[in-house]
């Protein structure tokens, strides 16, 4: 079926797992840092907040990355 009914949070979790899969070839500490760096580098604050608000990841690399992911921020008013 189309992605219309997709749960955004589940999608973010899938994306995080994909990132973890790439860095899995590296030592665990280095991998967790790299995963967090990647997410901080490319995900918006809201995406990060949604991901962090989701179920705690089972993946040890994501577990290690989660504390290093910058928190989101409140919705901003127009400039």
């Amino acid at each position: 079926m189309s992605g219309v009914a997709q749960n955004n949070r589940a999608k973010l979790a899938r994306m995080a797992h994909q990132i973890a899969d790439f860095f899995r070839a590296y030592p665990q500490d280095e991998a967790s840092r790299a995963i967090a760096d990647h997410i901080n580098h490319f995900w918006t604050p809201r995406m990060r907040a949604d991901f962090l608000a989701g179920p705690a990841p089972d993946d040890p690399l994501l577990k290690g990355a989660a504390p290093l992911i910058k928190p989101g921020r409140a919705d901003r008013a127009p400039a």
Binding site: M1, S2, G3, V4, Q6, N8, K11, R14, M15, Q18, I19, D21, F22, R24, A25, Y26, H38, H41, F42, W43, T44, P45, R46, M47, R73, D75, R76, A77, P78, A79
Partner: protein
Amino acid sequence: MRAGFIAEVDHGTPIRAGDEQVTLTIDGVETTAPAGTSVMAAAMMLGARIPRLCATETLEPFGSCRLCLVEIEGRKGTPASCTTPVEAGMVVRTQTERLAKLRRGVMELYISDHPLDCLTCAANGDCELQDMAGAVGLRDVRYGSSGANHLADAKDLSNPYFAYDPAKCIVCYRCVRACEDIQGTFALTVAGRGFDSRIAAGATDFLNSECVSCGACVQACPTATLIEKSVIRQGQPTRSVVTTCAYCGVGCSFKAEMQGDRVVRMAPYRHGAANEGHSCVKGRFAWGYATHEDRIRTPLVREKITDPWREATWDEAIARVAADFSRIQAQYGRDSIGAITSSRCTNEEVFLIQKLVRAAFGNNNVDTCARVCHSPTGYGLKTTFGTSAGTQDFKSVDKADVVVVIGANPTDGHPVFASRLKKRLRAGAKLIVIDPRRIDLVKSPHVRAAHHLQLRPGTNVAALNALAHVIVTEGLVNEAYVRERCDTAEFESWARFVALERNSPEQSEQFTGLRAADVRAAARLYATGGAGAIYYGLGVTEHSQGSTTVMAIANLAMATGNIGREGVGVNPLRGQNNVQGSCDMGSFPHEFSGYRHVSDDAARDMFEKMWGVTLDDEPGLRIPNMLDEAVENRFKGLFVQGEDIAQSDPDTQHVTAGLAAMECVVVLDLFLNETAKYAHVFLPGSSFLEKDGTFTNAERRINRVRQVMAPLAGKAEWQATIDLARALGYEMNYAHPSEIMDEIAALTPTFAGVSYDKLDALGSVQWPCNAAAPEGTPTMHVERFVRGKGQFMITEYTPTEERTGPRFPLILTTGRILSQYNVGAQTRRTANGAWHDEDVLEIHPFDAEERGVRTGDLVALASRSGEISLRAVISERMQPGVVYTTFHHPATGANVVTTDYSDWATNCPEYKVTAVQVRRTNQYSDWQERNREEDVSLRRMAREEGAWNDMAAAK
């Protein structure tokens, strides 16, 4: 030379490159020329034009017309100057009574079998035969017209763009040689012998022949034998302007040849560095869309997408957008709106849109269509080499010994580069093709790949790791290069990784389907065959491991020392004319122009000072994230510049659900495209013929785009952006696009030396262009990588989550073909439909037989995302288990079937792997039926009197 025309001197034969100079005397004048240059060209360098017909500078000398005879002291006879190379001390006479008599005799024979209709001939004023008759002083033809001749030979008008009139042919072979030497298709030949010799496109007419309509034969023809139908219709142009093609990423330079503001023809420009006088069917001929009746020339507005469109003034439309965007931000937050820039627009237009977003919207929600094509190139090459671009110029391939083409189909997607590549291959370079399909390069006239690694879709990383395994374990690494140029600790980690048995060709065969022996042989060839160059396309990037694949390619090139000089390199073949430029200009939500992250305080500070606003230091939304947020009702306003995401982006129903959930969608485009069905405001854009600016091609070459006609909508796109910024309360001030480039140069270190004056003086420059490289940089990473040491990355193969199974046992890959371009908005509005008027499904005979499918049958193509119906074509280009289609026609809806799986690093969609099933059917899918209805219901126009105008019905 006609006034207003750009002068291109034709020396008759190529000027040879080389340091050795030869001194000789021509007509009493001592001169020097490079060794190997012909007497004809040396004379032309002096300004002495020797009469000729079969010679032209773009072709090797042929020596058939016998018009260019000269006298050389100490030599018997009258040798042809085109085939006689200069020699030291040579004394040449080009004009004597004896030569004049001989030339008149030759011309007399030509004219005796040529219609004397110069005054009504389409080439009148632009005919070399006519010129030569004048040059040799032909005054009489003694042979009469009663003898045998070809004057009544039938014309071939089958090609939509050019005519072949054999009655005017002098059989100089220039067309045949152009087809062979320049284009490399070998579609033309000379049939018959002696008097019966005639140009033939095989045993059929031009349209049905192997001819690819590149126009090289037309360009080479010295008479009206092969001539553009537009010239026959309109007459000779009166002025010309050099500009840049707006199709693929090759970025060919053309002379737009005009009558007033009306294009007569687009002639490839010989001094254009990307194409050097060559062209393809799209750039050369498919420009009629620019003035097509479907062009929207007035802004349109409507309250709801189910309302009919109503014409508006620019002021009204801009005010409406500003009011809606302001309201949405006030209601849903500053981050609830964004924009998509277009790789079809100029650098200057794109730069302004991203500035609009960052400075006036106050967020970083700007992305570009490179998201869905080459974003993994940006990530992968920046990570490994330090910059997000290919390493070479196109000319570099002339020095390659081994060429690897991965996931690209250059003869269809980048035809002018393909011609250059094929020329090199004919000269002896070896070719390795890595592609699930048997693309034309695998076996075409005088080109045969040494290896075709026909892997299963989705296994690029496994295949590249296997190649690397062979290079590392067989001791083929260029250790001196790696030691000097790369991070050795990272190299060692990588080498240990690829040496693991699981990466061996024997082990990876289970994933790739490739015979281990073939992989080993290909690896040895690439590593030991001399200068190795890799060219790749979207078959690399549009995967869940697209970025990993780019890095695996970079690893291979570094390990073998194939970066940093001519003939080698890693070269992404960019899909659209300005993909490179749109990325360079800061279109990605995490980067300013020049690929500096928004969290980089020094870079942000520079922009804030120049723009006078505080900028967000957090990345914004990418296109797929925008749509996801829209479906969640958190992203409500979108400005779409020259892009058609409802047709081009994956999982169409998700895209349209996102668009439909927004409260203000603004589309700036030439036509009411699929995305415009979901728009509330339509702003009419400009074609490349109406633009002033620059495009940056796949080789980082910044080319000028010059306006040849005024914007049909009465306003240039950059002016519309300024108006919108002002309406939103942010002041922008530019009087001309050159001023936007000045700002780009001031803010972007790699563009610091770029200006319109420099581009006009040099023709083009390749970035980086700055104080360190004032005339640009043809080859990157020459002495060191941009990032310092080259970085090897470990590239573990992870199979895509998109799996085949009982319900969906086949893999669909998608792509494009020669005659159509992406969503087809341009090419579908030209005569290119003669070659391709619908998307078809290519299917292997085995899979077809299993399903009872024959060529021409309507078949249903279904995936987890959706279903469409289209015609099948049985093709052995496919491997069993893999089917292929294009996405050029909106009625087909190929992206209804593709999924939302994407690259792990960039979210580039996985267009190349979709699990599908195919079955015969007798009906179109529900989506297609609904789409057909919406073509009418969502595109209605309100007439002034208030009646509905059903546009589709009117057509």
